[in-house]
Structure formats: structure tokens, C-alpha cells
């Protein structure tokens, strides 16, 4: 029983982690809390659904294209909304509010175009296979979610830690101005970050759409809340932290539903979050950093 719960927790937690990765990436590099990340996540699953429905594409190609489309949306949002604010040196709060506007817009447009009701992937497109090892039960979707999430996370981690690009991004996270003086193409990397973060969000959207098989314009908001909880648990802007925080949140939620009561599922996330903030504002794994004004 416990092992089964662990598998469920792993699959839920990897989606949280994947979603939070994009969220934390934008915060780390651009210094913006991008509250439109939930709406982009939602669009990801709609794009995949549309491609599967209209063009009878295979699910995995649809997922890749959905990542591309959401990435482009992220790029457009960056270009039209975040870049002008960067140029003006607007304080933190301002881009955050602008992304709220973006989120409202995208959610409402999705609602107008696709309708407010839950949509499902057509029967037969989601693989129904499942594996049974001992008394453990693992569906193909769960397996795919865990694998895809981990592959994406490892790619991101390797890029950030081991490549010239990652070094440049970390330099920007430290100080955009200094990075610029060192000859790093700061603006270009901001665009790249927005693209990659939105693509990761879109991927998470497709995976969540698959695992619950229910896609609605409002699925982004609860996920956004979880994302906020995760990046605070893991330390804001910390990529490893977001991964561990996501898995931890998935674990805590599944365990609280299994052994306490399903009523407190959301309370777990935010109770935990609140406690962490009081005790360790920089997150469970974050280093203590005091930034002045």
C-alpha cells in the first residue's frame, strides 16, 4: 500500500516539479514572478488536445508541438509585456501585476474559444497499458510522466551547470548589469529563458491533461498556487530546489490524502509553505541571501 502511494506521489510530484521549473527559471533569471505561467500551462494542454483532435497526431508529437507553441506564447508575452518593463527598470511588483493581466486574458480567451466545460482526449489516444510489478500498479501515463519530467529536468540541470549557456544564465541571475558588461547577450538570453520556461509549463500542461484526462480553462490557477508553494519550499530561483520541492509537495499531498483526510490536501501545501516562510524564508534548500532594496 505504501509503495503504491509512493508511486502516485512520484508521478504527481514530478508534474509539480516540472511546472515549478519554468516558474523558478523565470524568477531566477528575469527576477519576475510570472503569474501567467498557470495560463500558459493550461494552453499547453489545449494545444495538444487540438492537434490530436483535428490533425489526428500522435500524442508525443502533439506534445512536442504544444511545447513549441507555448514557448512561442511565452516569447510573445516577454517581448510585448516584460521587455518594456525591463527597459523602464520597473520594480518587482509591476511585472507581476502585468502578468496577472496576461493570465486573465489568456484564461478568458481560452474560455471563449474552447468553452468553459471540461474537455477530454478522444478515446483510444491515451495509452491504456499498465504494468504490474509484484503488487505495484503503474500505468503507462504515470510512467511517461515520471520519465518525461525527469528527462526535461536533467537536461535543464545539465545545461545550467555544465554549459557556457548555463554559466551565462547564472551570471545574469547574479547581476544582469555585470553580465552585460562581460559581453553576454542579456536580452537574447531573457527571451530564451521565457521561451524555455513557457515550453516547460506547456509540457507540464500536456502531462496533467493526460493524467487526469480533464482539460479546462481554469486548470491553470490551482496549479499556479502549487507552483508558488513549490518554489518557496525549494527556495526561489533555485532549480534543484524546485525539483525537490515539487516531489516533496506531491509526496506530502498524497500521504495526507491517504492517511489523514482529503479535505486537508490543499491545507498541507500552504500550511507547509507558511511554516517554511516563517522559519526559513529562503526556502528549505536555498542559501540565505539578503538582498537590499
Amino acid at each position: 500500500m505504501l509503495e503504491q502511494q509512493l508511486i502516485n506521489a512520484l508521478s504527481l510530484g514530478s508534474v509539480y516539479a516540472l511546472f515549478a521549473l519554468g516558474f523558478t527559471l523565470v524568477f531566477g533569471v528575469l527576477g519576475v514572478i510570472n503569474l501567467s505561467h498557470g495560463a500558459i500551462f493550461m494552453l499547453g494542454s489545449y494545444v495538444a488536445l487540438l492537434l490530436v483532435n483535428k490533425f489526428a497526431m500522435s500524442l508525443w508529437i502533439a506534445m512536442l508541438l504544444a511545447m513549441l507553441v507555448t514557448g512561442l506564447i511565452g516569447l510573445v508575452v516577454d517581448f510585448l509585456v516584460l521587455r518594456p518593463l525591463r527597459k523602464r527598470n520597473a520594480p518587482h511588483l509591476i511585472p507581476m501585476i502585468a502578468t496577472i493581466g496576461v493570465a486573465i486574458m489568456l484564461t478568458n480567451i481560452a474560455q471563449g474559444v474552447f468553452g468553459a466545460e471540461n474537455k477530454r482526449f478522444p478515446f483510444g489516444t491515451i495509452p491504456e497499458d499498465s504494468f504490474t510489478v509484484g503488487n505495484l500498479h503503474l500505468t503507462a501515463v504515470q510512467l511517461a510522466i515520471v520519465l518525461i519530467s525527469f528527462v526535461l529536468m536533467i537536461i535543464l540541470l545539465v545545461v545550467m551547470r555544465r554549459t557556457q549557456l548555463g554559466r551565462a544564465l547564472r551570471a545574469i541571475a547574479e547581476s544582469p548589469k555585470a553580465a552585460y558588461l562581460l559581453g553576454i547577450n542579456v536580452e537574447g538570453l531573457f527571451f530564451l529563458t521565457s521561451f524555455a520556461a513557457a515550453a516547460l509549463g506547456g509540457a507540464a500542461g500536456v502531462l496533467v491533461g493526460l493524467s487526469f484526462n480533464a482539460i479546462s480553462p481554469f486548470m491553470g490557477q490551482p496549479m499556479l498556487h502549487k507552483g508558488i508553494a513549490v518554489i518557496i519550499l525549494g527556495g526561489m530561483g533555485d532549480i534543484r530546489g524546485a525539483m525537490i520541492g515539487g516531489l516533496f509537495l506531491g509526496f506530502a499531498e498524497v500521504m495526507s490524502v491517504a492517511y489523514l483526510s482529503s479535505d486537508f490536501r490543499d491545507a498541507v501545501a500552504f500550511g507547509l509553505l507558511f511554516l517554511i516562510l516563517l522559519v526559513r524564508p529562503s526556502g528549505m534548500f536555498g542559501k540565505v541571501l539578503e538582498r537590499k532594496a
Binding site: 514572478i33 503569474l35 509585456v81 518594456p84 518593463l85 523602464r88 520597473a90 518587482h92 511588483l93 509591476i94 507581476m96 501585476i97 502585468a98 496577472i100 493581466g101 496576461v102 493570465a103 486573465i104 486574458m105 489568456l106 484564461t107 478568458n108 480567451i109 474560455q111 471563449g112 490557477q221 498556487h225 508558488i228 508553494a229 518557496i232 526561489m236 479535505d263 486537508f264 490543499d266 491545507a267 501545501a269 500552504f270 500550511g271 509553505l273 507558511f274 516562510l277 516563517l278 524564508p281 538582498r291 537590499k292 532594496a293
Partner: protein, 301 residues
């Protein structure tokens, strides 16, 4: 004429009530912002006030003012308790912590029996009259205007500009921050109490993340450099959905777009005295120059 007014009032009284309530909420977040605190807990305090007042009205025979008093006192107490540890955080961390607090409040209200759980409270007596709102909004505005000019207001301003400098000047930074936080909670709580007594029903979803964000949006939209901004912002954003009914399904999208445009092009909100003054000065200057050139050419001719 009177009939027309009756019909108008029957349809739009809730909208007009909401304008007043939203103005108070926007002012509550203006207050914390004026002390440099980005707190998103005001929706939660509004909820605490609303539930406290409603439960008093529904379960006891105490008069309305007592219920409203509870709507002010209970959020203040909660703000004091959570403010002491939370206000050590700054910037986005504080925003996230207060957002987290808001979610905790929502989940607690959702799971308690005395608050009616997910169904919320229904059948709250309709006690709020229009003049209650006008009076309390007026009192809030007056108090905040006095506060701005007082020692406390100047301390808030100093902390907002530079916390370290303010501390070096001998300003008790943490005490003033707590004061701003608690006063903000009081205003939001009273607004919640008033609101609950004309909506008839309240639920845990009314005081969640979206509402916290809405309140912030109204204040920033209007401008937070003075008291008029939040009032104008809340009025505009409350009326906007009504005015844009013809957009039907895409009404909220237009709302979002307007929010983005204001943030991009009017960074200090729509009510920015400096910009407005500059505009009129420019116009006066242009007029004067035109008159000058006109009289000059007149002479030459």
C-alpha cells in the same frame, strides 16, 4: 423621475455598494504599500471580518455596529499574531508569505463546521444601508488623510523610501510596519463585514487568491501615490465589466488587456497628480506661446 430612479437603484445598487467596498479594500492595500509592504493578505482579512460579522449577526441578537466592530477587531488580532514573524520578510517573499496565509485561511474556513464549510454562510441578514458604506468610506478616507500628514505617515514614507536609513534615523521600523499591517487588516475586515451584510451569502471562495490579486490590481491601476488613486482605480475596475457587457464572453480578456496597458503606459496608475499637473502646464504654455506668436504676427502685419 422617481420611478426611473427606483428601477435604476434596484438594478445597480449592488454595483454601487461594490464600488464603496472595493474602494475601502483598495485603500487598505494602499496603506500597507505606503509603508513599503507588499502584503497580499487583505482578501483573507476581509474574509475573517466577513465571517466574524456574519456569524454574530446570524447567531446572536447583537446590533449591527457590534458585528462591524468584531469585523475590525478579529482581523486586527490575527494580523498582529501573524504580522510579528511575517513582517521580517521583504519584497516578494512577503507577498508570497501573505498569499500563503490567505490560502491557509481559505482552507481552514473551507473545513470548519462553524463557518459552513464549502457551502459558506447563507441567509446573512441584509443590514448594510448605502449610508453605512458612505460613512465608513468617508471615515477611512479622512483618517488616512490625517495619517498621511502625521508623524506616523511620515515614518511610513521614510520606511518606504529606505528602510535602513529610516532605522538609522531612529524610526522604530518593525513597530510601524506592524501598525500599517494591522490598520490595513482593520479596513479590509470592516469592508468584509459590510460586504457580507448585503450579499446575503458568503463562501470560502470569495476571499481567495483571485480576490487578493483583484484588490492589489485596483490600487495599482488607480495609482498608489495618494488617496484618490485607489478610489478611482476601484471605481473604474468595478464599473468596467458593467460597461463592457457587449463584449460578452471576452469581457474579462478586455479587463486583462486594460490592466496590461495601464501597467505599461501609465506606470504610476491612472491618477498621477504629477502627470496631470505637467499636462495642464504644457497646455497653458502652448496657449501662451500661440497667443504670443499671434500678437507678434499681428504687429508685423
Amino acid at each position: 423621475m422617481l420611478e426611473w430612479w427606483d428601477g435604476f437603484w434596484a438594478i445597480y445598487s449592488t454595483v454601487i455598494f461594490s464600488i464603496g467596498i472595493n474602494a475601502m479594500l483598495a485603500l487598505s492595500i494602499y496603506l500597507t504599500l505606503s509603508c513599503g509592504l507588499l502584503s497580499l493578505a487583505n482578501a483573507a482579512f476581509m474574509g475573517i471580518g466577513a465571517y466574524a460579522a456574519s456569524m454574530i449577526s446570524m447567531q446572536t441578537a447583537l446590533p449591527f455596529p457590534v458585528a462591524l466592530l468584531a469585523a475590525a477587531v478579529l482581523p486586527a488580532l490575527v494580523a498582529m499574531i501573524i504580522g510579528i514573524p511575517t513582517l521580517r520578510l521583504s519584497g516578494v517573499y512577503l507577498a508570497m508569505a501573505t498569499l500563503g496565509f490567505g490560502e491557509v485561511v481559505r482552507v481552514v474556513v473551507l473545513n470548519l463546521d462553524i463557518t459552513g464549510g464549502p457551502m459558506g454562510l447563507n441567509g446573512i441578514p441584509l443590514k448594510t444601508e448605502w449610508w453605512h458604506i458612505v460613512l465608513l468610506l468617508g471615515v477611512t478616507l479622512y483618517a488616512l488623510a490625517r495619517l498621511r500628514r502625521s508623524k506616523i505617515g511620515r515614518a511610513f514614507e521614510a520606511i518606504k523610501q529606505d528602510e535602513t536609513a529610516a532605522r538609522l534615523m531612529g524610526v522604530n521600523v518593525s513597530a510601524y510596519k506592524l501598525l500599517a499591517f494591522v490598520l490595513g487588516a482593520v479596513i479590509a475586515g470592516v469592508a468584509g463585514g459590510l460586504n457580507a451584510h448585503y450579499t446575503f451569502t458568503i463562501g470560502p471562495g470569495n476571499y481567495a487568491f483571485e480576490n487578493a490579486v483583484d484588490i492589489l490590481t485596483m490600487a495599482v491601476f488607480g495609482g498608489t501615490s495618494n488617496l484618490i488613486g485607489p478610489v478611482i482605480g476601484s471605481t473604474t475596475l468595478t464599473l468596467l465589466p458593467e460597461l463592457m457587457r457587449y463584449l460578452k464572453d471576452f469581457r474579462l480578456a478586455a479587463n486583462g488587456l486594460i490592466l496590461i496597458l495601464v501597467v505599461l503606459y501609465l506606470p504610476k496608475g491612472i491618477w498621477d497628480p504629477q502627470r496631470i499637473r505637467a499636462f495642464w502646464q504644457r497646455r497653458a504654455l502652448q496657449k501662451a506661446m500661440k497667443r504670443n506668436t499671434a500678437s507678434n504676427t499681428g504687429k508685423a502685419g
